[in-house]
Subunit: 111 residues, 2 copies
Amino acid sequence: MEIPKVYDEEKIEHIIKNVTETELCDLAELFKIFGDSTRIKILYDLFDGEKNVTEICEDLEMNQSAVSHQLKILRTSRLVSARRAGKAMVYALADDHVKTIIAMGKEHIEE
Amino acid sequence: MEIPKVYDEEKIEHIIKNVTETELCDLAELFKIFGDSTRIKILYDLFDGEKNVTEICEDLEMNQSAVSHQLKILRTSRLVSARRAGKAMVYALADDHVKTIIAMGKEHIEE
DNA sequence: CAAATACATGATAATATGTTCATATGATGA
DNA sequence: TCATCATATGAACATATTATCATGTATTTG
């Protein structure tokens, strides 16, 4: 019986071929976004669907300003999207890569 | 014809279930390591096999002290391994997750 | 064993980052 | 329109991070 792989090794090898220095810097910038506990908690909080700022603050037990500042960073780097709903701003994960990247990280630290 | 997926979506969903706050902080710490251009260049440099410090310095065109400092961080976080070979220290990627994580990141920024 | 090579490390300084506080903006309802 | 709720944002401060410089340690070789 085959053990299911999370990823396709051949495709991984293909993706990491010929990465330019600029792309490596862009990658560093991307990972930097994930490299803060507040931001990664916000992202994880959005795993079960879109939420407004107040809800996120309650979930993280953090003050609104700190959360808003980090949400701005997440929005600028296009990891989350935002839309207005009346007085509230509703945030959501921008795409599924966020889940994948975090899952890869979790697999690594579980060893 | 099926388009091959880099990852197994079901397994992703399973991995990201029930992540504790502590684990999220550990994840942030991990991603922080990837979130520096010097470190990610070192990691990428090691993709094609083990290298000593001098070789890494030449590849990155950076001075030895800066590289050594970052190598220490990479070693402490167990992303690279080190062994002595005569006067030289030979560094290598500690496991394949590094490649996967970087590939996931590259897929994301390519959009 | 002295000198040279390869690397590590501590201190310092410059810069970046994240939180807090105060305040501004935007939307809604009385 | 004014008060209120929801969020954004600028300034300031504290802390963290990174590269450089100087120097220390380990290994080999003459």
